[in-house]
Symmetry: C2
């Protein structure tokens, strides 16, 4: 079923009953004199719901996970969420008991200022790993942010800016859909840039089957005025993340902090979507659930793609489409092997329609591959008009020039058919550039440049 | 037992009864007029034994494997090997039936010129994937090489040059050991540079347990005048490769062509090492077998490390030492995750003693990891004096300056203790540099720059 979506302004403040704020409180402790905050990037955000909201979350499956992730895993899903407090500049990861205490304090300070229960507040962090949170600054920041909470677009934009690390631009979206005739909005903000190949689950545990958790700090915060039971929201989010954030890679590294949180506060007045309306395997079972699902999927996919396009040093966005695999696990393994191969990614950077490195990566992946069955081709993004460079393991007569034109596009699709079965998978991937290396080799003089 | 080894000159021509040659026959078809071969890098090598030799081999476990690999898998181990013919400039991979025919023809042309059986000749190739071999040039090259076969050091050096691709220097070694009082020599040449994380087995099949095959074209050819049964030689080689070539990574990519071949022609006059003298699990059981084993291990390890040091764009050589893992599979997975993390490798390039990215990589590896047990430290190569930056998941008081001094060395050891069990593993790894990206983004105008 096709559900009509309208783009709207305001990102996380677009749905009814949400306020946001972003402030600078010098979490990196760059040092500030009086009045020196001008021009500093904001580093602390608040997103607050006027009324109790259903909350769901998906989190990194890295065994080394940050304190805020541990706090959120305990508190999701729930029916009485009120706020999310987020900082950049410090990941609060590998910070032991003090880190956990600090993450909890971030929620309790926020809760006190808002007059809500601490357990209704969630928390996210991104930045340097292994540094104790500068709680004096953080407390000041939360106080400052709570005083300027607002429903305006610019407040939401400040929150989007505050969660950025090496991102070159804020990432925001908001859409409106209809649930049984009533307008319902979903808005979101996210950040990414490096350490990007999330593999998230709802409890930090890796699924027995399916993609291994990989790596990036990506944070995403979604608000909606839909009315939906927490368990249904959790199912919808799991599916949306599986098709979006868990299908992206910048550098193949999975972060300690990857987090997606969604709050649904019911204030649209649309009817409530019950748990039974979303089956954990078959997906949405009613029109209302379908409309919500489609809108949430759209928001997650758009935000996930923004992360890849703005990845560190990225100059090309490549959708790797694997079809005809023997199993879903094979399709996943094949698409990830290609999307993470250093040699494939550098050839994308050079605009080279290389198939040798691609079939090589397929061959060493854990997917079953038969050389004389493999097709490899290129197309414009989303196009079905594929220029095949390899068919059944043999080079085709497609001109090298035609392939070069496609591989030189800033965005293109790479089509891989294994011709062994019916399973398919895709990955949204990026090239590997000198700029990525230059950026990440870091500056030893500035340890804060290296983060999680 | 410690076995005394003496370094000798001559690499593959150092053992008794071996000749070598390297010629230029323009396999990349750069175009040559008369007399224009001057200054061209040689691209075809022959290594020939005066008498029938035991031959053993280890090969890529990539499912997409090159024609020469297929031919060698069929022909090893054997007792009557006579020669190896090798070319660079063309991998003869993904070349279908014609490729297999060409690889066989390379051996039969060589056999005819030497007056030996074609099945006694082995073959190796490296270079561009998916291009049919220029057999006219190859035949000319084999003829030319066969005419200048010689026992001199410079002939062996020409062979070492001929197998190079993006290597900046030839890689050679020869040692002498004693077997029951008689001198026995082992010599070797190899090439590497990019597509380097071999995972080899004797039949191209991946072991049920153990390291996944990963990726690089590395070729290695070893000669010895020891007398050893083919099955014993195969066992010794498997163990030597497991501890050397299968423990290196430059870019985490496993090639279609990885090959290690060894010929043992008995001409030292030392007594024969029988199959029963080397147990496939416990290793060598006699002093003679032990001496041979130690010498072969040394040759393989030295050559493997040369490949990492001369990897594309490499500026640092890091030995990743994982101890205290729950199982061998965990130790292997942990060491590979760290050695292949883009973020860890770029931090090495920057000389940054980062532990956040390292513990992050450990956390997303398939190894069991407990954050509050992990120790991470740095030392000079091979030194037991470790400067610990992390102990039981907590930053230590070691000065950042002290760690920076170690991480700024061109070679250092990274020590990781998981403190969960008794298994250990190590990887010889390299940094990721702008030069690697620059080199591998390739030149679309010159497809021959992109190889396997």
């Amino acid at each position: 079923m096709k559900h009509k979506l309208t783009k709207v302004n305001g990102s996380v403040a677009a749905p009814m009953g949400f306020k946001a704020a972003g402030v600078f409180c010098d979490i990196k402790r760059l040092g500030t004199g009086k009045g020196s905050n001008k021009g500093r990037k904001r580093d602390l955000a608040l997103i607050v719901s006027d009324s109790p909201a259903s909350v769901a979350g998906m989190f990194t499956t890295n065994q080394v996970c940050a304190a805020p992730v541990k706090v959120c895993v305990e508190r999701t899903p729930q029916a009485t969420g009120r706020a999310i407090v987020i900082n950049s500049g410090n990941a609060n990861a590998c910070t032991g008991k003090q880190g956990l205490k600090d993450a909890r304090e971030m929620t309790s300070v926020t809760a006190e200022l808002l007059g809500v229960d601490p357990s209704s507040v969630l928390v996210g962090s991104t930045g340097r790993i292994g540094v104790i949170m500068p709680m004096v600054n953080v407390r000041q920041g939360i106080h400052a942010a709570s005083r300027i909470l607002d429903r305006t677009s610019s407040s939401a934009d400040h929150a989007a800016e505050a969660i950025m690390t090496s991102d070159t631009r804020p990432k925001t979206i908001a859409v409106e859909t209809q649930i049984d005739g009533k307008p319902v909005r979903i808005g979101g903000i996210c950040k990414g840039a490096g350490m990007i190949q999330p593999g998230m689950s709802s409890d930090g545990r890796r699924p027995a089957a399916g993609p291994p958790g990989l790596h990036a700090t990506m944070l995403c915060f979604i608000t909606t005025d839909a009315s939906i039971a927490p368990a249904a929201l959790q199912r919808a989010l799991r599916e949306a993340v599986a098709q979006s954030f868990n299908r992206i890679t910048v550098d193949g590294d999975m972060s300690t902090n990857d987090t997606v949180l969604v709050m649904a506060n019911s204030l649209s007045g649309a009817r409530r979507i019950e748990t039974r309306e979303i089956d954990s395997r078959r997906g949405p079972l009613t029109k209302a659930a379908g409309a919500f699902h489609a809108a949430l999927n759209h928001v997650c996919l758009e935000l996930a793609q923004m992360i890849v396009r703005d990845g560190e040093g990225v100059t090309r966005f490549v959708t790797v489409r694997v079809e005809g695999a023997d199993s879903l696990a094979d399709a996943d393994a094949a698409s990830r092997a290609v999307a993470n191969s250093a040699l494939v990614k550098t050839s994308w950077h050079g605009g080279d329609p290389n198939w040798g490195r691609i079939i090589d990566a397929l061959g060493y992946s854990s997917a079953r591959v038969q050389e004389d069955r493999v097709d490899i081709g290129y197309s414009k993004p989303g196009s079905r008009k594929v220029s095949w460079s390899l068919k059944r393991g043999q080079p085709t007569k497609t001109s090298f020039r035609e392939l070069c034109v496609l591989a030189a596009l800033p965005e293109f699709d790479l089509h891989i058919r294994l011709n062994l079965g019916k399973a398919s998978a895709l990955m949204y991937a990026a090239d590997l550039t000198e700029e990525y290396v230059e950026f990440n080799k870091g500056d030893v003089a500035d340890p804060s440049s290296l983060g999680g």
